[in-house]
Symmetry: C2
Subunit: 241 residues, 2 copies
């Protein structure tokens, strides 16, 4: 971690450093918006409000605009500054994280859309809401923490995110099983339960994006590509690096 | 299109040009593997064969290894060659496409896993198989064509992919509706139908990744970022560009 930080310190007070800082600050702003999108979407599931849907849509537009803007900045920083080593890696990782944030926002949008559909169909069943709230809260925290791990270049925090996401996956799988059983017992609820399943699926994906971001942070700091490794393997790999 | 091609022609016979060509060739190899993964996964749904599952898993490992290798190449090309303008754009687009290919492969893996689960549960219902085959064939073609549109820098082909993916989305939504109706009529089939729904969902996502790749191709050739625009808007934007 200290290597990377001292690398960045090299540029202090230079224009280049300001540009890198701007890039990271933009990414954090975009991340804050995506996180807000997910939070509002879960809120929408708990109690529907069309004003919330509007806010989510407007955040979605901003997130999309940020994605394009940050990608342009990435291209322009590389073209003008010709970064190498850890600076280049930072810039490339930012362009990867941007994609995951945009996708997390997309999932939030789907969750809001499904709340709207349920509302319009006049459904007010609370089946599955405990699971939506539980998984929703966890992935919102995962997404926020993944951004913090980037801001602090905190590998331990990033590793912890991958671990916690495994737990979310377990809760998600068990929720799907009990919802399927519920469907069989009460087929009148099939429409509602399907809707809840798609919501849980979208939220679970947000957790995956948080984990992707955490993996990019580990790569950025350690220079080790940990995508496609299990959590245990990642810990082993880092121990030996 | 001609601009980009003449830009690349500038480097002919230079080492840099060879590296760019290697990068594109690697991407096409990875794409071929991801496409094969999806094809085998759909085959697995039609008639289960554990040897196929093994092949898919092995392709998955190769696809993951390619993702890391190509990303490393992207970093090394930028660091050593300091590309600008359309060369830089090409390299950055390759690193974006790689991600979509890897995700498409992930979806194929899920489809194979669900075929295995259905097989192990002793299910042999054919409900939904027409839809799985229809959507499967379409997204396999979309993915293949998205790679061809990249290889040929063919914007018209890329635009057509976005259009065809909209059609896949319509078929998918209508399949979900009829499957939900089927569940209500025959609750004993709930487990099987849920499995089919997840399969369709995964295949539909493959179509989305093909569209993302097509959008990257349009950006590469036209310099216009068409992500987050509807097909009609993209056509308008390109007409005016």
């Amino acid at each position: 971690m200290s290597d990377l930080k001292s690398d960045f310190a090299r540029h202090i007070s230079s224009e280049f450093n300001e540009e890198l800082e701007e890039l990271c600050a933009d990414l954090m702003k975009m991340g804050g918006l995506a996180e807000r999108q997910v939070r509002l979407a879960v809120q929408c599931q708990e109690s529907f409000d069309s004003a919330l849907v509007e806010q989510i849509r407007s955040a979605e537009n901003s997130v999309n605009a940020w994605e394009i803007r940050i990608d342009e900045l990435v291209e322009s920083v590389i073209a003008r500054r010709q970064p190498t080593a850890s600076d280049l890696r930072l810039v490339l990782v930012v362009s990867k994280i941007v994609r995951d944030l945009e996708r997390a926002g997309d999932e939030a949008n789907k969750v809001a859309l499904m709340a709207q559909q349920a509302h319009e169909a006049g459904r007010n069943s609370t089946v599955g809401m405990v699971e939506v709230r539980a998984i929703g809260e966890q992935v919102i925290r995962l997404l926020g923490d993944s951004l913090t791990s980037f801001a602090r270049l905190d590998v331990d925090m990033a590793l912890d995110i991958a671990r916690r996401d495994k737990e979310v996956d377990r809760i998600y799988q068990s929720a799907l099983r009990s919802l399927a059983t519920f469907m069989i017992e009460d087929p009148r609820e099939i429409g509602h339960v399907l809707n809840v399943m798609w919501v849980l699926r979208a939220l679970e994906r947000v957790g995956d994006h948080a984990t992707n971001i955490a993996e990019h942070v580990i790569y950025l700091v350690k220079g080790t590509d940990v995508r496609h490794l299990s959590v245990t393997n990642v810990e082993e790999t880092l121990k030996n690096s």
